[in-house]
Amino acid sequence: MVRQWVVGTSLGLAAIGALAASETEAKAQEIQLTGPLAGAPNVRKLRLHREGRFEVAPTFSFSLLDEYRRTMVVGLRAHYNIKEWLGFGVWGGYGLISYNTDLSDQIQAKSPRVPQTNVNIPDPSKVTAGVKDFGEQTAKMTWFAVPQVTFSPFRGKLGLFRAVFPDVDLYFHLGAAFVGLSERSDCTATGTKNCTVNHEMNSRVAIAPTFGLGLTFYTGRLLSFGAEYRALPFEWNRAGFDTKGTGNNGNFPDNKVDSQDRTFKFNQMVSLFVGFSFPDLKVSE
């Protein structure tokens, strides 16, 4: 009787232990927490638009928030994507269209040609070398060469008017920008190259970090299109003014134009592109 009780109790405790163990184990199962698709990848049969593919994309870009001169750039982007989320390549462009802002036109029309402004604003009656119109003195970005890395951590789909559902990715790019500039050349306070009579332009290359983000819409296996924002912060003398060089902290004009007169600008542009990718895309499991 006692033996029976001991055996029964022992086995009962073992059963309770098994019950407790099974409950604990079961609670640790994702399958109980998230349903029958637990453990599955968040996207099945994902069309891998990037991985192992080259992309060539003609671009059209325009600068934003320009003070004196706007630039429109035609370019080409070539990329190879090692992973779906990582690629590298280059973007190059040429400033095909460039025109003055209304502020530049107003300055040309209304700024008085007096000794205090002759260093900054060309006076046609005094200029012996260089441009004679303020609009021509404003600096412009003439070409771009940008080696860059692209990260595309976000892949998804988009519903437009509940009728069109393209694949979309959001990507970030980071690189070094080599920017060809046309900028007012250095001039001096006195001598033959003094800034009153000399308003020549010069070319130089500015090197700057560049970064931004973009959206790509995939319309098929080959074709995509999208928009991209790019920041190119660097210092340049956009108006060709003498603004710094002497006084407290060099914050007063010194009648010379040189590298001290360059001011920091968070240059920005937006690009539109049409991309062609090859070879054919793969599909994930």
């Binding site: 029964g8 184990e25 399958i31 402004t117 519903g159």
Partner: protein
């Protein structure tokens, strides 16, 4: 019903359904009233308890790779549990072991299976009535491939109230930046259309830029400047775009994009820069039209981050660049302002959205 039949039935249900905590409870309930005196029954009970555990203990991914027929197609991640009551899903309902009663006969596929079907092995299995073998019937059924890309919109907005506090930064004024807090409130008439209002406050936060100073000193040309006090607008919002993104680490977030437009008033005044000794301006209301686009990224179903670009278009009265020669005219307020100019104030508005009520029920299943 014998105890062994109870155990067999419980184990088969657990294997078929594949989950849920109700199986151990069912076992426990079934065991009530059964005598505990014989040790072998304990062993059998322990074995029965281990059966559902074994069924649940699938390797990660194993269950997902072969979802059972009838599993909701869009049950991705853990979303589905938030919206569906337990028992609503087909998989949550216990199977009928007798094959009678609750299981509907399959549509189509009336051919007798030639072998290998479940009905050949067990004619009493669910779905093996006069309709024939369910898997074969399903294989022969016409596939309805009309599956929308986003099966349930993550955050429905129909008849919900949105409160959107934000901070605004002007984008297109190089001379004076207009920054300030704002708040918008919208009522969604439908899931894609809302009416609402927004309020911007700029008082004391307008900043004359360094660029303005340098340009004025270099050219001896003063540019008339204006500052804002506040703006109030009535708006309509249309949400034509929605979607979701998957990111690294299997994280999924949902977003929508909208266009917004409206009309209201903007209180502005010129900053006296041409003749500051004599001129002092008061704020006046101008009619302002606005249009913009925005993006909303949802953190959950009622809380989102918002980014919006809005252009407020209004007729601005700017300071006259002409200073009268005599003292009487210089102090005459009628001569302080020039012509009216249509002005664009493009601003970025970054904020958060809170949707009320916090939850809702979907009308249709996934």
């Amino acid at each position: 019903m014998s105890f062994f039949s109870i155990l067999r039935r419980t184990a088969s249900q657990s294997l078929e359904v594949g989950s849920t905590r109700r199986k151990p409870e069912l076992v426990t309930q079934s065991m009530e009233g059964v005598t505990m005196k014989q040790a072998r029954w304990w062993l059998l009970m322990a074995a029965a308890l281990m059966v559902p555990t074994g069924a649940l203990a699938q390797p990660k991914g194993g269950g997902g790779k072969n979802p059972k027929p009838g599993t909701p197609a869009a049950a991705s991640g853990g979303d589905i549990e938030l919206d569906e009551k337990p028992g609503d899903k087909p998989g949550d309902k216990p199977a009928d072991p007798a094959g009678a009663g609750t299981t509907d006969p399959p549509a189509g596929g009336t051919d007798n299976p030639a072998g290998g079907g479940i009905c050949d092995v067990d004619p009493t299995a669910p779905g093996c009535g006069k309709g024939g073998d369910v898997p074969k019937a399903n294989a022969n059924a016409e596939v309805k491939a009309d599956i929308v890309a986003v099966q349930q919109i993550y955050a429905l907005k129909y008849h919900r109230f949105e409160v959107n506090p934000y901070f605004a930064l002007s984008l297109n004024d190089q001379f004076v930046s207009h920054v300030g807090p704002g708040i918008a409130a919208n009522w969604y008439i439908s899931d894609v259309l809302a009416v609402g209002a927004n309020f911007n406050y700029y008082g004391g936060l307008n900043v004359d830029s360094e660029f303005n100073f340098q340009n004025r000193r270099a050219t001896r040309v003063a540019v008339p400047l204006n500052e804002y006090l506040l703006g109030v607008n009535a708006n309509m919002t249309y949400v034509p775009v929605y979607g979701k993104f998957a990111s690294i680490g299997d994280f999924i977030f949902h977003y929508d994009a909208y266009v917004v437009g409206g009309v209201g008033a903007l209180w502005t005044r010129p900053i006296a820069v041409i003749d500051p000794d004599n001129r002092k301006f008061d704020y006046q209301a101008r009619i302002a039209f606005n249009a913009g686009i925005g993006l909303r990224v949802f953190f959950n179903r009622w809380f989102a981050a918002t980014a919006e670009i809005r252009d407020y278009i209004y007729p601005e009265r700017i300071e006259s660049t002409v200073v009268p020669t005599n003292q009487k005219d210089q102090t005459d307020p009628a001569k302080w302002t020039g012509d009216s100019q249509l002005t664009n104030n493009v601003q970025a508005q970054l904020g958060v959205s809170i949707f009320l009520p916090f939850s809702w029920e979907y009308r249709l299943p996934k």
